[in-house]
Symmetry: none
Subunit: 215 residues, 4 copies
DNA sequence: CATGAATGAGACTTCATTCAT
DNA sequence: TATGAATGAAGTCTCATTCAT
């Protein structure tokens, strides 16, 4: 999604028109995320989005052909922001269990630090199978690694994935309703590690490791 | 409104009109459950319900003033069907862990035996905070019992509740997508017991106890 | 409309069923009048009437076949209450001008004394040509008498009627909005007598005659 | 929104879109006026308006969010058409009585010349307090002038206003039902001048002055 | 590209009215 | 007669979507 990755070339490759286009699109997605965060249900109308983004009704249609496409873009944006966060932390880790713990914890921490993001994600994940799959994708590798490393024992990968994704998002939802509790990130991670079959003492320890420095 | 109650026939206090009313209402709720089971999302409109139930548009409004009210009725119906099942199984148990395991397993089994019910429940639970609360209500007592009996260890009851409810419904959703897996009920229950802090061997054993005989 | 006129015979002629019927009907009309007085527009629904009157939906239809019929009954009731008042005052008068003045003044006074009645009448008269005609009927005779007696001079009886009816009801509406003013009844009557061509001094005097004792 | 205004053609600042918008709106209002003229009561629905105007259902809602808003627009249009007429006649007059007489007469004459306009106005004025107030606004200044000039004597300005507005519109309604009467405009004006306290001879004379030339 | 007018499907809701009990 | 369930017409309103400018 070309996050201004390389400032030295971007200005040449993209015409101003393209830049504006990208900016408008980003603005629309950000506005949509904000609206979800603020409690607009899955029924976010393009009309309201246009209003909130300060663009005209028709402009939205220059970027998303249908409402579905817009929802997809929002889901993608949320997932990317998540992966950005997680990847930057778990870059150096090889233990599946540790990677999963760090992933869950960074997810929970990000939601605590940016409740708007967490709130949006929790809402969107309810209606958007695509987002659920995307999140599952991030988890799957760690899950398999942990299994291969002899740490996790689960009857079915799909079941384990569902439990991790659903458990984590439900935990975040609880967090956002109930106002934080100390070390919630570790508490959630520990429960999930336990569920995945890690022995209790190791689950406890792994869930409480110091977070790696951002990679 | 049964003013001149006829003591000779208690069952006939309700006029035929009332009986018809009850029947129509039940028919509407059943139709709604079926529609949810068939994949209609939260956007089930009263218009579509009327069509599907074969009644006129206005009739629905004699029973549910708003979509919310209808959703609530559906959630209640689903929850009641569930509680019937669970209560009939766990009547004689005193161990919180065992009760919880039986509850989760009977939930999963019912969903396997009646995929329509499971499918409807999984969908409704996504949109209906009321139903989530209702399900949480069934779990809470067992959770506390298990904690007091020294079996469960969790950082926060709310977090534990969220994990159990979300984990179970996610597991059921997986089940319904993937069609059948052996002993899934026990697998799910075991994961959750582990997450709640039950030692692995006991979790495994508790999740695999023979289901009590009904009633 | 059988206002319990003759207590000595009513009980024998009418069965209890009839009495109840009459009572229910009267109750419905009174409730409707009250609702109009309270600001319900012309759109008074039979549903709301039934609710307000504490009867069932269907019962209303035992008395009024359609909404129109109900509106008519309300108009009639209001007009009758008016005529009752006016006739009781102007019974002994022969001067058309005096009769008209007394009529207008008793109308205004009744509206002041019973704002609910006035309010209902003002509202209904707007939508109900029937009621306008009925009120015109009460005025016409006095108007002709005044003309024949050489007091009134007007270009067209219809025009004069319209002016008297519209002017009086508008005056009452003003009264009800603005909170009474002293001798409003006389002020209104004087204006109308003037409009009808009575010389100013006589108009003033006639509008201020002491009200006759009730006949 | 006309960012690149083209100074060479001031009239073209508004895009064609805007012109179309204005045209559609005008078309809707005109249609509504016609419907009122044809006898549609206060129950003019936006649905019927759309049908009659030959536009889609939704289009109407781009212009009037509610029925109220539409009524207001109609009332405003009617009142504006009226004020155009009156102002063009009474421009040079200083006597309050004369101005009021000319106003009433031009109102009546316009209604005679354009019965559709008169019919619409009479109907709308019944249901729309806003229009009543607007008409009162036109009258108030003349009324005060006449009072200050010693011509009018009335107990209450509000009462006088109500009488003038109600009397005039009722007179127009009569006219439209009965089809034509000679010099009705003067007859109505005379009655109202009398009601306002102008001496009979002056009322008669003032009501029969030749109408001023326009402009 | 941006704009916003127009469209039509469809949801929600209220009611008058009918009819069986 | 009283009741109230059922009905369907009609109205209000919101939106996704298209299209001409």
């Amino acid at each position: 999604m070309a996050r201004r990755a390389d400032p030295s070339k971007a200005g040449e490759q993209l015409t101003r028109g393209h830049k504006k286009k990208a900016r408008t699109r980003q603005q629309l997605v950000e506005t949509a995320v904000r609206l979800f965060a603020e409690g607009v249900g899955q029924e976010l109308s393009l009309t309201r989005l246009a209003e909130a983004a300060g663009t005209s009704h028709g402009t939205v249609y220059n970027y998303f052909r249908t409402r579905e496409e817009m929802m997809e873009a929002v889901g993608l944006a949320l997932a990317e922001q998540f992966s950005h966060e997680v990847i930057s932390f778990s870059a150096g880790l090889v233990s599946g269990a540790e990677r999963l713990a760090v992933g869950v914890r960074s997810f929970v921490r990000k939601a605590q630090a940016e409740p708007a993001w967490g709130s949006a994600l929790v809402r969107v994940v309810r209606y958007d199978e695509g987002l659920r799959s995307a999140l599952a994708g991030y988890v799957r590798a760690d899950l398999r690694a942990g299994a291969e490393q002899g740490d996790f024992r689960y009857a079915s990968e799909e079941l384990a994935l569902a439990m991790v994704v659903a458990g984590t998002t439900a935990a975040v939802a609880t967090l956002l309703e109930e106002y934080a509790v100390e070390h919630h990130d570790s508490a959630v991670a520990e429960m999930l590690l336990l569920a995945l079959g890690l022995p209790p003492d190791r689950a406890r320890a792994t869930a409480r490791l110091p977070m790696p420095t951002r990679g």
